[in-house]
């Protein structure tokens, strides 16, 4: 699917919530996947508890956890949708005792100023 009349905008998806406590993370991912068909300039950031969405080793089945579908592997598939710009907020990650080696996907770590710059460059910011 082509962008609307060739228009390409910069879309930023801001993921701020832990993956299973609310549905925001899952439904954000659904927007990203559908949106990929529009060939826009897409970036994702993970901030606050949103960094947990990328955590390796999630166990959510009935036997091992809360009995909810584990969608964490979908983040690894984003590359196949040409969604390759994933950013993590440095402070959010460090405050939670995480490092990039705890995460499922390759990300770029941004400090506050870099995050502000990234947001300032966008046309559309969808915050989940």
């Amino acid at each position: 699917m082509d962008g609307e009349g060739g228009v390409i905008k910069k879309f930023l998806y801001v993921n701020r919530k832990a993956p299973y406590g609310t549905i925001y993370a899952l439904e954000s991912l659904e927007v990203v996947l559908i949106g990929a068909a529009f060939e826009q300039d897409v970036s994702l950031v993970f901030i606050d508890d949103g960094v947990y969405q990328l955590k390796k080793g999630q166990q959510t089945t009935v036997d091992s956890g809360i009995g909810v579908k584990d969608f964490s592997k979908t983040y690894r598939a984003l590359e196949g949708y040409d969604v390759e710009k994933l950013y993590v907020d440095k402070k959010s990650m460090e405050m939670r005792g995480l490092s990039t080696s705890d995460l499922n996907v390759d990300v770029e770590v941004l400090d506050d100023a870099q995050m502000a710059d990234l947001m300032a460059q966008q046309d559309i910011i969808l915050s989940f």
Binding site: M1, G3, E4, V7, K9, F11, I23, Y24, E27, E30, V31, I34, G35, A37, F38, Q40, D123, I124, I125, L126, S127
Partner: protein, 130 residues
Amino acid sequence: MKFSIMVNEGPYQHQSSDSAYQFTKAALEKGHEIFRVFFYHDGVNNATCLTVPPQDDRHVVNRWSELSKKYNLDLVVCIAAAQRRGILDDNEAKRQGKNASNIAEGFRISGLGQLIEAGIQADRLVVFGD
């Protein structure tokens, strides 16, 4: 200016639907264009005609329907989010083998592509949510 609006929270539970309505109404009255209002997450609950609030309170659902009628406003409910939460139109009810539908007047059910398009087409996409 051409706006698109996104509503991410349910009626009565959260102020975002009220704020989105007030913003949309004010923008239209000032002569701006609203390309589309897109309902997502629990925001899809703004679109059920089975809502029965107390008589001395605002009717959030009817208010959207009336605004839609007056301004020919495009109110779109995300199909995936709606099906999870039991919001169906006649077609979907039939397709899913359900014996009832509950989409309110003026709303239509469609896909997430409508949200992306709303972002592309409008000068501003304004998100109301948590």
